[in-house]
Symmetry: C2
Subunit: 378 residues, 2 copies
């Protein structure tokens, strides 16, 4: 197990929520919040494990005890947590007897509550991913314990990144750049979308040195007109555009990026459309600065390029889509430390073009974190 070198203050950020909502403790069950508050990343590409309902549950009694109740069959991996966080493994895998990971996890949670004398407390939770078995067990064991949903407050906290988070996102962006550069390098007529995808994914994983979960649109030809889709065995044809939206997850932090390229000779109209979308993205980036409304960034991009049937952008962090949303209804003001993907687009009858960069809101404006060039012709 690897302990990060310095104490991270994200747990301390809970103090305000604790006071304003009169909470005594917190239970975090989502992979995103566990990563955010503890540093622990669970590799999620295999879906639900038969050996645990949750790989980990983070219990927080602010200023007193922060414990990660962790499935012991995840301990074999090299895991990283912030210093000051206790790791309490529970037996999850067994072969000489029936495994009972859920009961063991519940025991760990209940022990924390008893030990920290919060049996009659008010506990902050994120209701959406909260498992019924935990709620039921708490109610049975501690009938006076009350759970309060603090999802909006946690989303607000997460929307402003600290320096360590920005460093993590920068690394994820390097992988996104490698993927986009691979598309420019390898794309050619006759290969399938899947073959191109495999090369891009390989280059990203080789650079990281381990497997990288990768959300990806990679579509070519008419498939680009709906904004993308997963790679298929469709062959790339001479006049195709290729739309590649790569969203890699590096140890719990996501990057995001999109490019659209022409493998052959694009039409004048396609070139003009690409130029307009690129200008819209540039307008978005130039608009991003503290105290601008999120909606304003969205409005100005759309005003330049026309309508497209999706958001103009979104926050990125331990989730690939989080606050602040760059949409017309969002009157939130941007703040330094927010990390925002901007992705204006134009979808026509036979093709679509979307271009995306990930930008950091700085004290005076913005810094573009993804570094690849939006290049149309190869």
């Amino acid at each position: 197990m690897k302990i990060m070198g310095k104490v991270i203050s994200r747990i301390e950020k809970l103090n305000d929520i604790s006071q304003s909502k009169k909470l005594d403790a917190f239970i975090f069950c989502s992979a995103s919040s566990v990563k955010y508050f503890s540093g622990y990343f669970f590799y999620f590409e295999y879906g639900v494990s038969p050996f645990h309902l949750l790989p980990s549950t983070l219990m927080v009694k602010p200023g007193q005890d922060t414990s990660l109740i962790l499935a012991d069959n995840e301990m074999g991996q090299s895991i990283t947590v912030f210093s000051g966080i206790k790791v309490i493994p529970y037996e999850s895998y067994a072969y000489e007897k029936q495994p009972d990971p859920t009961s063991n996890m519940l025991s760990g949670i209940c022990s924390f509550i008893i030990k920290n004398k919060i049996t009659r407390a008010k506990i902050g939770i994120e209701i959406s991913g909260f498992p019924f078995v935990i709620a039921k067990s708490l109610k049975n064991s501690f009938p006076e314990l009350e759970c309060i949903d603090i999802s909006p407050e946690i989303a607000g906290l997460k929307s402003v990144k600290d320096e360590d988070e920005i460093a993590s996102i920068r690394k994820a962006c390097v992988l996104a750049d490698i993927g986009q550069e691979a598309v420019l390098k390898y794309a050619k007529v006759g290969m399938t979308e899947l073959e191109l995808f495999s090369l891009a994914h390989r280059d990203m994983e080789n650079a990281a040195g381990f497997r990288i979960p990768l959300m990806a649109d990679l579509s070519s030809g008419a498939g680009t007109n709906s904004g993308g889709g997963m790679p298929s065995n469709k062959k790339i044809e001479p006049d195709d555009l290729i739309l590649s939206d790569f969203t890699p997850c590096l140890q719990g932090y996501w990057g995001d990026s999109c490019n659209t390229i022409a493998v052959g000779r694009p039409t004048e109209i396609q070139k003009e459309t690409f130029k307009r979308v690129k200008e819209a993205l540039e307008i978005g980036i130039q608009t991003v600065r503290p105290s601008v409304h999120a909606s304003e960034v969205d409005r100005l991009m759309r005003a330049h390029v026309g309508l497209y049937p999706h958001h103009g952008g979104h926050g990125v962090g331990t989730l690939y889509h989080e606050a602040p949303r760059i949409v017309s209804y969002n009157q939130e003001l941007l703040k330094p430390g927010m990390v925002i993907a901007l992705e204006p687009a134009a979808y026509k009858e036979t093709y679509g073009i979307r271009l995306e960069h990930l930008v950091l809101v700085t004290d005076t404006g913005s810094e573009t974190l993804t570094r690849f060039q939006h290049q149309f012709e190869i």
Copy 2:
């Protein structure tokens, strides 16, 4: 949306559970059970979506109404469900207003309950993956509705496969075979584990024509001595063994396979160890037939090869590890239609060897579904 051509009788299998447990209806939330009963497969490699807590919830009033409450942003994918199942989409993605997928999903669930007049019913659920928000909403709206855990009964049902399931698992096994053949074909000194993994994964995805979630151990050299681990940028060296355990998921059904190969010249002891493990696997396969205890298969493999610190095998279906477990405590009798991975192993100080096939219990014995050869020297 694609409707499968014939009515599948898996929903009818719930009648027995309905009668024995006195249940009026069922709610299935796990991806595995939704796939099993409805045919709907959710691509899970990206983890939790910000646009739905659950992509789908399957509501069943036996003999009357089976409805899949489905996030509409999943409808864009080409989805498949069995005939007779109603698909009821709920709004999940929105950009002109705040999306509220959880409330919309809950509305869909409550509408089903009202429409089918089961507001005072007993409803079977699988408690482990059941979300607190659904339980809370049901309790608020229908205080006389009662939820009963039927996880063991559902696990029992799933352990015996019907013909369509066996056909699905056969297809997943073809992918596993392609992966194992790729290792034999491409493995060479100097390449990294990740590079080899990428080629094997590529061949599997090319054969399928779309992305394939792939749980995989791929380790080389001393890394094999603990049974595997994810591929890294470690280079394959002249005297390395390579252990490759490939568990691909093809549209909701898993395959499973493991091979261990020597890239250079194995030692006589390694050859002898490989031979023993291969014999143990053969003994396991020969032992599999109806009415044999699961524990007996485990015992005979261990008796031949010695102890190894994991199960001897496990069922495979819509989960990569399900009933029946091939372990010493499991006195369950094997039945025709069960699909079982057998994976005896030997772990030494500096290397490990594990060999695995997936077998179907037939009326008279077994059929090996994975077809690749366990070949040690290349």
